[in-house]
């Protein structure tokens, strides 16, 4: 590889390690009107479910110190409408497209994965942070047993690369990562949002109708970075780092901690062109470094 930002993630060559995170970039259309998103290494679709979902009622976002909480509730058009109306656009882009899949039962995950795998997408990202309605509403990714089930069964139907997106709320993150590897996941991405709580003290009520919400943004970065470091040291499959990235320095930290690529979420809301900015800054960085390719720093810090 030439002196560049190009990285390899599984069988995919990414122009650079910058990928936009699920739920923060829609299907790419809105940002494509703001800048040339084909500069990006890739993008992950909004979380999709088998059937359309309206999402949660009430307040959906809440600002917090150096971050935000969300309770969007997976509003999405459903797999069929996505395949018809949005996938052709994503596929037409000169970047890697990753499809994020969610479900509230094992059957739903399997059906959705099978459908989307048949569309020959670049990769599937399995969001295992969704509550399992049959199992008391505990998210699949919290316990090893439910993680094992959902990875094993979806692996059987997924013919494209399968990446499992880990929840930082997992009972034992390292064991969960091992379970994913054992059951045939090609990669893992981490982290999803942290379960969190906010109270409206004026009215003495909870802010979110769903009680708890997902925390993201720079406030989670040091914890997420620690998790990426630990996980990438203990499994063989590649890791995609996510959580609180706002600048190219944050990206470098994740790469040095062991991530082969990164995803950027919340930062898109603060600066819609953050992807372009970070790639520009990384290019400048690498031109001043005694290395040929950005890959050389991956996992460089023990």
């Amino acid at each position: 590889m030439s002196r560049s930002l190009e990285v390899q993630f599984l069988n995919m060559i990414l122009k650079n390690p910058i990928i936009m995170a699920s739920g923060t970039f829609g299907f790419g259309r809105e940002y494509a009107e703001i800048y040339d998103i084909e500069k990006l290494g890739g993008l992950v679709s909004k979380g999709l479910t088998m059937n359309p979902r309206k999402g949660n009622p009430g307040i959906r976002v809440w600002e917090t110190a150096s971050g935000m909480m969300n309770s969007i509730g997976l509003e999405n058009p459903g797999i069929d409408a996505f395949i018809q109306k949005e996938l052709p656009f994503m596929k037409s882009l000169n970047l890697k497209h990753i499809i994020n899949i969610s479900g509230s039962s094992l059957e739903e995950y399997i059906q959705a994965c099978e459908k989307i795998s048949n569309e020959n997408v670049d990769m599937i990202e399995l969001n295992i942070s969704c509550p399992n309605i049959k199992d008391g509403g505990i998210p699949f990714g919290i316990k090893q047993s439910t993680t094992r089930k959902v990875v094993k069964e979806t692996r059987k139907v997924v013919k494209v690369p399968l990446m499992v997106k880990l929840s930082p709320d997992a009972e034992n993150l390292l064991k969960i990562a091992h379970v994913c590897e054992e059951e045939g996941a090609d990669a893992v991405s981490l982290v999803n949002t942290f379960k969190s709580f906010a109270i409206d003290i004026e009215n003495k009520v909870k802010v979110f109708e769903n009680t708890y919400a997902g925390l993201s943004g720079p406030c989670i970065k040091p914890i997420a970075l620690r998790m990426v470091h630990e996980v990438s040291k203990s499994i063989q499959i590649p890791v995609m780092g996510i959580g609180g990235i706002m600048t190219y320095q944050d990206v470098l930290e994740y790469l040095m901690a062991g991530a082969r690529a990164v995803q950027i979420g919340t930062a898109n809301f603060i600066n819609p062109k953050v992807g372009e900015m970070i790639i520009h800054d990384l290019e400048k960085y690498i031109s001043n470094q005694p290395i040929e390719n950005i890959s050389e720093i991956i996992g460089i810090v023990d």
Binding site: G23, T24, F25, G26, E30, Y31, E33, I34, K46, K54, G55, I59, R60, V61, W62, E63, T64, A65, S66, G67, M68, N70, I72, E75, G217, T266, N268, F269, I270, N271, P272
Partner: protein, 236 residues
């Protein structure tokens, strides 16, 4: 990043904020603005109050953390501004029109009024403003409207002479918009409302600002903030 030309305090926690640069927007569109600060993480949506050759003006009221940060801004400070976003009020309207604003909902109406002045098909434009207390910016409307009615406290909706109008643009608390919509329906008036909602991205990507409408889930930032009244207030 852009530079603040002025941030002028008015009565009752209102401010006029001017950001220098060249800007273009349709009436009713908004921008996302943010001052880099520990206590302001997300951008805040603000409607266009006015656009000048050398800058854009916002009218805002301090209601919480973010707007307090804005209030502390000084001339010469740097500020982030993104936009214009959203779909604004329709330009192509006919007959006679009333613009009705309550509280901070007044902000987009000044720019709308100035734009509507260019529409020669309109017979007259009346403006109704509902405020808690008298404020300095009210008189700006006098230069462009055929009639300005301002009411303090209570409900501005009680003072609107509905029979006079073919079209109403309104912006303010949801209750106010709903009251107007009921009357608009009775009088066969074309009614457009500008909605507010909590936002993160402002462009339709995060789905924070969803609202149920007659035609299913819509997103205020992208499909709105201006909607037809009948799309928002419908009864099954």
């Amino acid at each position: 990043m852009a530079i603040i030309s002025f941030n002028q305090p008015l009565k009752n926690d209102f401010f006029l904020l001017k950001i220098s640069g060249k800007y273009k927007a349709d009436m009713g569109q908004f921008f996302m603005i943010r001052k880099d600060s520990q206590s302001m993480f997300l951008n805040r949506p603000m409607s266009v109050y006015d656009i000048k050759k050398d800058g854009i003006i916002f009218l805002y009221q301090v209601v919480g953390k973010g707007t307090s940060v804005l209030a502390s801004c000084k001339k010469g400070d740097e500020i982030s501004i993104y936009g214009p976003y959203g779909h604004g009020f329709p330009l192509n309207v006919k007959g006679s029109i009333a613009l009705v604003g309550g509280g901070t909902g007044i902000a987009p109406l000044f720019y709308a009024l100035k734009q509507l002045r260019k529409n020669k098909k309109l017979k007259f434009i009346h403006v109704y403003l509902g405020l808690q207390k008298k404020n300095e910016f009210e008189s700006n409307f006098n230069d462009y409207t055929d009639s300005l009615i301002v009411h303090y406290g209570g409900f501005i909706t009680d003072y609107i002479q509905y029979e006079k109008y073919n079209v109403i643009f309104s912006c303010g608390p949801l209750k106010m918009l709903e009251k107007i919509d009921r009357q608009a329906k009775n009088h066969g008036i074309e009614h457009y409302v500008s909605l507010e909602g909590r936002m993160a991205c402002g462009i339709g990507a995060c789905l924070a600002c969803a609202i149920q409408t007659k035609n299913g889930n819509k997103h205020i930032c992208k499909d709105g903030p201006v909607f037809k009244g009948e799309e928002i207030f419908y009864y099954e």
